[in-house]
């Protein structure tokens, strides 16, 4: 069974995403969830959970921030409320949050999600030993590595099959600091369309923004594993995440619908990757090239 997980930025988009075929909605808010399309309040999350459950679908809530004392102290209340809402799963990236969850003995399932630090089956086995139901794989892994990892584990490895990937998180306000150095102010937020370019690489354009968690930088390309979905399915990688952190509203829903269609085609044996890749390229915003990131590289190419 393939599970299609998509971020959701609002109740309205959540409805549309479920219509489009999403199985699980990924939502969250500050100060516990990282790099979300739109941080939601606990009330908004509650509404989405109720709605999704009514339709027999699931909701995962992001609790994957690196937490400071102040956040960890607020966490028990937040987790308690998520448990009351009967949220299906949460993501955790800070071992302190696992410690809190154990102390509270709440009936909350969690996936371990520490971004680029999840790179082997043995690591994931460790977190499963600490209660995790699965893990979110680093985007810096190759498909070969992912397949080898999944073959060693019964619990699912979640793989990002679409969207931008974060390549840098700083605790500092790097944009603000730059503007202040030059004695000015300037845009810093996510939806202002800010980019960095390495002058030595003309084609590079790395989205950058600041929020409560610091500064985040993303890859030039939106990841897409559309062409590899069939292989993934055959090799047991069946938990697919679509990240809409930089793609909003209907545009993201259309992408999700296409991945759902691809999933159905794979299940019925009618999947033609070229056709789906072409259709995805047409949906893709012009200034965001698609790519396969590290997935199609050889493990030896990165060292």
């Amino acid at each position: 069974m393939i599970e299609l997980i998509t971020t959701a930025e609002s109740y309205q988009q959540a409805e549309a995403l479920l219509d489009a075929g999403a199985d699980t909605l990924y939502v969250g808010g500050h100060p516990f969830g990282l790099r979300l399309p739109n941080p939601l309040s606990i009330e908004e999350i509650g509404k989405i959970v109720t709605y999704a459950h009514r339709r027999g679908k699931k909701v995962t809530v992001a609790c994957n921030a690196l937490m400071h004392n102040e956040q960890i102290e607020k966490l028990p209340l937040y987790l308690t409320r998520l448990a009351e809402l009967e949220v299906d799963t949460i993501t955790i990236g800070d071992p302190g949050a696992i410690f809190v969850l154990k102390e509270l003995q709440l009936p909350l399932k969690f996936f371990y999600d520490a971004g680029t630090l999840v790179t082997s089956a043995e690591q994931i086995a460790f977190w499963i030993g600490q209660g995790a139901s699965g893990a979110v794989a680093a985007r810096e892994l190759t498909l070969k590595e992912l397949i080898a990892m999944q073959q060693k584990l019964e619990q699912p490895i979640e793989v990002q099959v679409y969207g931008p990937t974060c390549i840098h998180q700083s605790g500092r306000p790097l944009l603000t600091n730059y503007y202040h150095y030059t004695g000015s102010d300037g845009p810093v937020t996510k939806d202002q369309g800010l980019y960095l370019r390495d002058p030595k690489n003309e084609e590079s354009q790395y989205p950058i923004f600041e929020d409560e968690d610091g500064t985040h930088i993303f890859s030039t390309e939106d990841l897409s594993l559309m062409g590899q979905l069939k292989v993934m399915h055959e090799q047991g990688l069946n938990t697919w995440k679509l990240d809409g952190v930089l793609l909003h509203g209907e545009a993201f829903v259309r992408v999700a619908a296409l991945f759902h269609e691809a999933r159905l085609a794979i299940e019925s044996g009618a999947f033609v990757p070229e056709s789906f890749c072409n259709r995805l390229a047409k949906l893709q915003p012009e200034h965001r090239p698609l790519g396969t990131g590290f997935y199609m590289k050889n493990p030896e190419d990165v060292h």
Binding site: N69, E122, W127, R172, G186, Y195
Partner: protein
């Protein structure tokens, strides 16, 4: 009344090779951290063979010092092969602890080398006390804090947990949360978490906004965007670190020189001793500051300890020129009757030049080189050859392992 601090925190220095390990300990480090031939993050630092480790550990233990081995790589499939033998060998060598961030390696270490203490690397970004409690419950003895933690947060942690806390006090810093940066992976196919960091954060970038498909530059005054952090120095604030309950004061720099490591260890040793022997009457000696600047490579700041760093804690514009000293020679021997020292040359120097000698215990003096002889006792003007042995008259007593620097 004097109120001594009985449990002094450890001064922990980096050691890129055996020579640096010995020098760091001679210059006051209570402990050093080194890298092995595998599983570390400093593929370019001179890493230790088992034989060198054995010699280093013996040298350290003979002097009451400790040796930690960094094995803080984030492993991919297959990378952990041989880690069991590695950790078991370290335990047999009597290494005092390993520094690990990858839970897969923690498990291997705990199984293969039970009893070998494990410290959590800063790469794991521990930023709250529940995280410290988690790792304590896993059997770890110590956590190296993330560099994003403030002094107040450390105090709070100390109130909630008794696991040992190690924190950086000096050296270069990641601008990102350590371990949470893959700029190098994406830009040059080098895995930062497996020792390949290309320091892409210190490069210069264009910054622009995309407005309806059109690029609009946001650069001001031709100043490129950069994310380069100035270095950390808590030299002026060690009492805060010690009072907050930090058990180990960590100096960054396994790639740094003997000159750097000896100088920084010497200064921190001296400050920690001065404060702990009489905290109430402690005053900061400007000579400590002066000394640190002799080996500074960038401007210095207090990182996140007193708040989120501003633009002043980043390198922009024209980088300020810091007076550079060069390591000129090491003392091999000294004759108190003739006041003649035997030196091993490390950089070209000669008669007439102003030099400075320094040694363990914060010993210092400056002088002009008045005379110089080669190994055959013939007078020479300069000592041009690397590692050549020379003699010269010195103005004050020196001892073997005193070092000589020049501007």
């Amino acid at each position: 009344m004097m109120n001594m601090i009985e449990k002094k925190p450890e001064v922990l220095a980096p050691a890129g090779n055996l020579e640096k390990l010995k020098m760091a300990i001679r210059y006051g480090a209570d402990a050093v951290y080194i890298g092995g031939q595998a599983f570390g993050l400093r593929s370019r630092a001179g890493n230790f063979t088992y034989e060198e480790m054995t010699e280093g550990v013996t040298f350290a233990h003979d002097r009451g010092a400790k040796v930690y081995v960094a094995a803080n790589m984030v492993t991919h499939e297959g990378d952990a092969k041989g880690a069991d033998v590695f950790f078991k060998t370290l335990k047999d060598i009597r290494v005092d602890a390993v520094i690990v961030s990858d839970p897969a390696l923690i498990v291997v270490c705990a199984n293969a080398a039970p009893g070998l203490p494990i410290h959590l690397s800063t790469q794991a970004s521990a930023t709250n006390y529940k995280t410290l409690e988690f790792w304590k419950s896993m059997g770890l003895e110590r956590v190296v804090l993330a560099r994003e933690v403030g002094i107040e947060e450390i105090r709070e942690m100390r109130r909630h947990t008794d696991i040992e806390i190690e924190a950086f006090v000096h050296g270069a810093m990641c601008i990102a949360y350590s371990g949470r940066c893959t700029l190098s992976n994406h830009m040059v196919n080098r895995d930062a978490n497996r020792g390949g960091c290309a320091q892409s954060c210190r490069w210069k970038y264009d910054l622009f906004e995309m407005d309806g498909g059109k690029e609009e530059s946001l650069l001001r005054d031709d100043e490129p965007f950069s994310m380069s952090a100035v270095d950390l120095s808590m030299l002026h604030h060690l009492p805060d670190m010690i009072d907050a309950g930090v058990n180990s004061l960590k100096i960054e720099g396994r790639m740094k020189s003997i000159h750097y490591v000896s100088t920084v260890a010497n200064v921190y040793r001296n400050v920690v001793d001065a404060y702990c022997s009489d905290p109430e009457h402690f005053t900061f000696d400007p000579a400590w500051d002066e000394e640190i600047w002799k080996v500074a490579q960038r401007d210095l700041s207090t990182g996140f300890y007193y708040g989120v760093p501003t633009e002043k804690e980043q390198l922009f514009g024209k980088v300020r020129k810091i007076p550079k000293y060069t390591f000129a020679a090491q003392v091999l021997d000294y004759n108190p009757d003739t006041h003649i020292a035997t030196l091993e040359q490390r950089n070209n120097f000669g008669v007439g030049e102003e030099v400075e000698f320094y040694g363990p215990g914060f010993a210092h003096f400056k002088q002009t080189v008045r005379d110089l002889w080669n190994e055959d006792g013939e007078p020479i003007d300069r000592a041009p050859n690397p590692m050549m042995t020379v003699t010269m008259t010195v103005d004050a007593a020196v001892e073997p392992y005193f070092l000589m620097r020049k501007k």
